[in-house]
Amino acid sequence: MYETIAFYLFSALTIGLFLITVMSKNVLYAMTSLAAGMVLISGFFFILGADFLGVVQLIVYVGAIMALYSFAMMFFDATRDIKEKNTNSGLVFLLGGLSALVLVMIFAAPIHSDAVQALYPMHEGVGNAQDVGIVLFTKYLVPFEVAAVMLLVAMIAGIILAGKKMDQSLTEDASADDEILIQKDAK
């Protein structure tokens, strides 16, 4: 009973918040609603019994990724509304909806067959975090290490890309603005 109420509440709120993310003209509104939607998605994980995944979702997505976005926001002018020229919005909705439907059908159809068998079944009486830990550090050890190396590479890339000319301000320093204007004129 509670599961049903929670499911419908979370799904309605998540869809609404993500619609705001996609449709909003303001970057700050989009980012805030994206963060709230991710918190609610961790609620889905908790309903589904994937406790550790929900915690990781909260820590990594809401904690780390949204913090990264908000730090990056300080480089851009976040208060200004985004002006976009959207051509033929109805066609985009139709095509986007249809192609998403096709993609989901393609990937979800094999799951609905009876041929799916549990490869690493969950154990009764063992916590989710323990189960995840055992499978992650035995069966998925190599992908785990590769993911660690990938995160290291991404960190170095982020530092090198964003760290150049960090001492110059983009919005307050007049010379930086002039440089941008000169480059725009030269185009």
């Binding site: 049903t4 019994g49 549990a118 993911a147 982020g158």
Partner: protein, 100 residues
């Protein structure tokens, strides 16, 4: 009672919202947000399948998706900052350099 189909339908709806965002937005930062929405939709589907088939593989893949999303955001935001420093805008229409 909530079954696997309910979760898959919600996941499909959120995924299509993200895809519409990717097709519709012209601002690079908003494109990143739409990508995050799509990744989260897939994570819901993985967790639901993992729950209803009593199998941990779905959760494992969701973990790796989260790791990939984190590194994608780190590199992508670096690229966005470099682009903003160079062009002063994140609009895809202004960033196009190939005239065709």
């Amino acid at each position: 009672m909530i079954g696997l189909t309910h979760y898959l339908v919600v996941s499909a709806l959120i995924f299509s919202i993200g895809l519409i965002g990717v097709l519709r937005r012209r601002n690079l930062l908003m494109l990143f947000f739409a990508t995050e929405v799509m990744l989260n939709a897939v994570n819901i589907a993985f967790a639901a399948i993992s729950h209803f088939y009593n199998d941990l593989t779905g959760q494992m893949f969701a973990f790796f998706i989260i790791a990939i999303a984190a590194s994608e955001v780190a590199v992508g935001l670096g690229i966005l900052i470099v682009l903003y420093k160079r062009y002063g805008s994140l609009d895809l229409d202004e960033l196009e350099s190939m005239k065709g």
